[in-house]
Symmetry: C2
Subunit: 138 residues, 2 copies
Amino acid sequence: MKKDSGYNTRQKEIILDYLVKNKDKHTNVQEISAYLLSGGSSVGTATIYRQLDKLVESGVVRKYNFDGKTGACYQYIDEHEHCKEHFHLKCTVCGKLIHLECDHLSGVNEHIKNHHGFTVDPSQTVFYGICAECAGNK
Amino acid sequence: MKKDSGYNTRQKEIILDYLVKNKDKHTNVQEISAYLLSGGSSVGTATIYRQLDKLVESGVVRKYNFDGKTGACYQYIDEHEHCKEHFHLKCTVCGKLIHLECDHLSGVNEHIKNHHGFTVDPSQTVFYGICAECAGNK
DNA sequence: TTGCGTGCAAAGGTTTTGCATGGCA
DNA sequence: TGCCATGCAAAACCTTTGCACGCAA
């Protein structure tokens, strides 16, 4: 996870601005591009990809791949420093990210380490599924 | 999840045969195509995709997308083994993918559903971390 | 001035689609 | 015979890369 040491450019700012404004849902390159176009600011697709790569690299943004869909999704991660102590649940329908603090689950990573020799990195691990609201709307 | 109601063709059989034989690992379209070629049976790429779509649709095969990689992965799902929860552990160092069948963890998804109203999709959920071998080699 | 950032277009790879033909039931 | 399946190629997509120019520091 590198530090953000790049230049401050117009493109960089508006891309990050859009991600912050939409941090409650996931977005993709097309949506970002369309938003920037509608706002009168045209930004090349390659630039969006390159900026997103840097943001992912620096830990500010998370990148997701979903099975049915083609193309990656991106989402700004608020308070990314504190997210090492709990689990993340991500709804694949509405894109909502849930920060789950739960004592019952705190032993899971311990178990995997002790019984399976695998050290889980909670900051990178996400449970995918369907949230209560989306499950009810069908 | 529809029933498998299609015709029985040579291509369908050998594709499914390959998936069954390799049900302990993930595979992809390229590997299937290469295997069929090496076996003297040439099958068009489009046919492989179309057959895989049907298999996924009928629940016989699962489709995965992983972050680093480009292209989808497929895996045959044995009905009987499938009774247990099937977690994936992916080593971020060596890239190895571990299929974890574990009774202790089978209650985790239940708990999340009952106590947090969130339905986890195990086929999409991956634990990232460091495997025993990579942890030892440092 | 230096070197990273940007835009454009082209390339690379994966997956889908159109259409004529082939093959199961 | 009636349809679905197949093969081939083209198309549709998503993403990356090369290169010249622009711009921040």
